[in-house]
Symmetry: C2
Subunit: 155 residues, 2 copies
DNA sequence: TATAACCTTGACGTTGGCGTAAGGTCGAAC
DNA sequence: GTTCGACCTTACGCCAACGTCAAGGTTATA
């Protein structure tokens, strides 16, 4: 297994994702990234999927501001989803698939609830800030007027 | 200054805001809460405003997932806003007010940009999750059908 | 075959955001 | 005037999420 075309070394992945190599190894250590394949010498070989996964993790971190432990749960659930998707064809173990599907559904619903809540609150905050900006604009105008006709009390 | 009516001791503030006393002292130490007044013996006396401020800080932490240092910048800016609001009447130092107002405007605009971006991304994520849930529902139905007529390939 | 660029595994260090224990003080009630 | 819970400061502890060496092995290229 000298090298598979399209595979990426850790440095390239780090560059493309904007995280450090340390972070990639750390994610692997914590189970957020499945251990990648290796070259004969031991160099890690990542796939394009891994890149996407890293980007996904970072988005979750950035957007939801949750712990890596929680993120692990999420991406694990998505792994189940992937598994379901790929083995969908073989007509075996329907019962097992159903339980997996149910698990994935539950996790996704939980996420959905959280995200929905946060989205709503973010919207509120956005509105508040917009209001404030308008207020500032008005005040600024009033300051303009005060400078035009000084020593005058407004009606 | 034995005690002002309506003032709260640290324990009550902790209860009402859901944070620990340690956290309140920590916020004070970090400049996120202005040092409250004290009773003669040294007990901290908080106001209702302080309570609101703590709640605000927590919302920022939870929603935006940013550092306390960044939050400090934000609440500082809002302090300026408050100052502007209260001293608005006295017709003095218009130039200074204008610069303060401008500063506050800049900070608010920066916040607004960030919040807007995040809101948008959250919306996207929300939509994705919803899509996924629909997919799961469909799959589940397909599993139902597979169980009804087993060993049959679907058209 | 040498050498630079890249990678490996430790292992210890750092920063943020508090937790927690120690030892003493305050305040209200009895 | 003592008791007892609430509070004070000081200071070390802790965990997450990495950063940062150190000491060496690997790979591509000349």
């Amino acid at each position: 297994m000298a090298e598979k075309r399209g595979d990426l070394q850790i440095g390239e992945v780090a560059q493309r994702t904007g995280v450090t190599q340390r972070t990639l190894r750390f994610y692997e250590e914590k189970g957020l990234l499945r251990p990648p394949s290796r070259m004969d010498g031991g160099f890690r070989l990542y796939s394009e999927e891994d890149v996407k996964r890293v980007e996904h993790i970072r988005r979750l971190q950035d957007l939801l501001g949750i712990s890596l432990a929680d993120i692990k749960e999420m991406v694990d659930a998505e792994e189940v989803l992937r598994a379901l998707r790929s083995q969908y064809r073989p007509e075996s173990a329907i019962a097992e698939k159903r339980t997996q599907l149910q698990k994935a559904t539950e996790v996704t619903e939980a996420q959905f609830t959280i995200v929905k809540q946060k989205t709503e609150q973010m919207r509120e905050m956005e509105a508040q800030l917009e209001e404030r900006l308008k207020l500032f604009t008005r005040w600024n105008q009033e300051l303009d007027e005060l400078e035009k006709k000084p020593a005058t009390t407004r009606g």
